[in-house]
């Protein structure tokens, strides 16, 4: 189906199911219970899962397949956001023209930046992309103020033209009348499920993005990209020109980033320069490596993981810790709270850092490799000596430095 093998079709259907059922799956604890803090099924966070999932899937096409580590992909994120907000200002709040423009402008940016940066490989390529991203950030922050509204960030004002705006048009982002921030809430025996239009819009696009990356992974083009990562010398002596291949991968991943940035502005009609900062570029690198660079599911897992930590662990405060550890003897309780204090709330980055270190050291293939090892262990216990199919699991990148 869809030009995929049977195995991949099943894989795609599972991903579809997980994505569409997210509002239910991420609400395992009833409202008001002690575990409710860990529920992640609210629209804002779910939208971020989908958007950063798209960002990471795209980044993985460049970094995971070709091994070229870009440190400047946040630039495309920002370009996408600005494009969408400009379309709001000029036309109306419909997200479609903005998203299309976001993809086109980020592709043009990626073509220009990639054309120059791809003349170098390895660390020099990374530094060049970083330099371009910082240049874009500074342009957006101060130089191009008429276009980007500088520090304040770009937003829609009442005196903007909005030429397509009618009497009854919604006054927030919408898809032909379906307002993004609208939700349906269903309360089933203490469990509260929120089905948000914005999330489902992002989810459908994320599934399409995943399908596209699946096709690229299985295509001759994807095979060439993996060949570039292993041995560029052999590729050149085999009659293939690696430059257009890497440039195409760079532009495709830039378009994914532009789309993700556009979706951010489609959920919340704002665009600011901070989206282009180098920390945002670094984040997508972390996501891809944490999940497993070069694997299909890895980047999505990594994006979900980091966004979950950022939003859930950072919410935990001392009061909650007191509640959880209240049953312990006093001295022990205080000691435990003192230690956990460093890992939750504002210090959630420490937990993430430790986790990242553990994954890089013990699971160089990321969370996906962890999953595969567990699956192999379980299978090995059931039936001895079942071989893994190397064709369907492109060998994951061994290390960030390679």
């Amino acid at each position: 189906m869809f030009g995929l093998s049977k195995k991949d079709t099943t894989f795609l259907l599972i991903v579809c199911f997980l994505t569409l059922a997210t509002p239910i799956l991420l609400q395992p604890f009833p409202e008001g219970s002690a575990g409710a803090t860990f529920n992640a099924g609210y629209p804002d966070l779910m939208q971020r899962f989908a958007i950063f999932g798209i960002f990471a899937i795209g980044f993985n096409i460049l970094f995971g397949l070709t091994g070229y580590l870009s440190f400047g992909h946040a630039a495309f994120l920002g370009v996408g956001s600005y494009s969408v907000v400009w379309m709001y200002k000029l036309l109306d709040y419909n997200v479609i023209p903005g998203l299309l423009l976001a993809i086109v402008t980020s592709a043009i940016f990626a073509l220009a930046i990639g054309y120059v940066s791809l003349r170098r490989t390895g660390i020099y390529f990374s530094i060049l992309t970083l330099a371009f991203a910082q240049m874009s950030f500074n342009l957006a922050y101060s130089v191009l103020t008429p276009l980007t509204n500088g520090e304040t960030g770009l937003q829609v004002y009442t005196d903007d033209p909005q030429i397509l705006m009618g009497e009854n048009s919604p006054t927030s982002p919408h898809l032909f009348g379906l307002v993004m921030r609208d939700s349906v809430q269903i309360d089933i025996g203490g469990w509260l499920f929120t089905f948000n239009i914005g999330y489902y819009f992002c989810a459908v696009i994320a599934i399409l993005a995943f399908y596209l990356s699946l096709r690229i992974f299985r295509s001759p083009f994807g095979m060439m990209l993996r060949a570039i990562k292993t041995n560029q010398t052999r590729l050149n002596y085999t009659g293939l020109n690696s430059r257009p291949y890497t440039l195409a991968a760079f532009v495709i991943s830039g378009m994914y980033a532009g789309l993700a940035g556009g979706l951010m502005a489609a959920m919340d009609p704002l665009a600011g320069a901070e989206r282009m900062q180098w920390t945002a570029s670094g984040e997508v690198v972390l996501m891809t490596i944490l999940g497993g660079a070069g694997t299909l599911m890895g980047p999505i897992l990594g994006a979900g993981f980091i966004k979950y930590f950022e939003n859930i662990f950072s919410k935990i405060n001392d009061n909650m810790l007191h509640q959880w550890f209240g049953w312990m003897p006093d001295g022990m309780e205080d000691a435990l709270i003192f230690i956990s204090h460093f890992f939750v709330g504002k210090s959630w980055h420490l937990t993430l850092g430790l986790l990242f270190m553990l994954v890089v050291i013990f699971l160089p293939g990321g969370l996906v490799e962890g999953g595969q090892r567990i699956a192999r262990w379980v299978r090995g216990r059931r039936k001895k000596g079942s071989g893994d199919d190397p064709e369907h699991h492109p060998k994951p990148a061994p290390h960030v430095a390679e």
């Binding site: 295509s219 001759p220 095979m223 052999r234 293939l240």
Partner: protein
């Protein structure tokens, strides 16, 4: 007129004259060996043929076209394939994919954005690659990761990757270096068979005289960047100049 004509090629690295006025003519369908002591300029000459180095002066004509100034991938598309001294293969890809990539390169040229096709659906190319792997008796290893192959298998894989493109000229840089005698003999048989059955011209750089004399129809002896003699194996064997180059005047 040979398929490969090298005329008056000079290459200098700083103060070192790596190649001095090299002339070479490789006849179509022949096996031409280039021998010479260490540092004679054999590898430099090979690098000038595949576009890795550009000679300071002189001309290199292949099949009537100049290869000078062309990139390695363009030269390969003209019909020259190269086997390296240490096998250059796609280590993180499966054996099958290693052979499929040259098939795609042969069919689609140096770049094509075939992002919406599926490798598995290219029946013709898959058959071709499998047939090639069967010819070098590696078919049962097609799903293995290339990095997990033995050294000898890596060499055979690289050979298969070059042969599947049906090149007009195959350049081999010490194809038996570091091999055991039995493996060396297998390689000789394989190369003989390639030359006879596939009509592929071969230019081979080799240290092992056993290999050279079993395969070559013409031999060029290089010493200090200059060709000493070019002749048939029988005439080379007893040639005083060759002895001198290998052993030095003192002996």
């Amino acid at each position: 007129m040979g398929i490969l004509e090298v005329k008056g090629v000079n290459k200098r690295f700083g103060g070192l004259q790596a190649l001095g006025d090299v002339n070479l003519s490789v006849q179509e369908r022949s096996v031409h060996a280039i021998i010479g002591p260490n540092g004679a300029g054999k590898s430099t000459l090979l690098n000038c043929l595949v576009g890795k180095l550009i000679p300071d002066t002189g001309s290199v004509m292949f099949d009537g076209n100049s290869v000078l100034g062309r990139k390695p991938h363009e030269i390969n598309q003209m019909g020259i394939s190269r086997v390296f001294q240490t096998p250059e293969i796609f280590a993180d890809l499966s054996v099958m994919e290693n052979v499929l990539i040259p098939c795609f390169a042969k069919r689609d040229g140096s770049f094509r954005l075939h992002a919406f096709e599926t490798v598995a659906n290219e029946g013709e190319l898959n058959d071709e690659a499998e047939k090639m792997l069967a010819d070098v008796s590696m078919l049962e290893k097609r799903h293995m990761l290339a990095s997990s192959l033995s050294r000898g298998d890596k060499r055979r894989l690289e050979m298969a990757m070059c042969l599947v493109q049906r090149p007009k000229l195959l350049l081999l840089d010490e194809p038996t270096a570091g091999m055991a005698r039995a493996d060396t003999n297998n390689t000789i048989d394989l190369l003989k068979e390639i030359n006879d059955r596939r009509d592929i011209t071969m230019c081979i750089i080799e240290h092992d005289m056993h290999v050279v004399f079993s395969l070559a129809q013409r031999i060029t002896v290089l010493a200090q960047g200059t060709p000493l003699v070019e002749d048939t194996p029988d005439n080379i064997k007893g040639h005083p100049k060759v002895r001198e180059a290998y052993l030095g005047e003192a002996h």
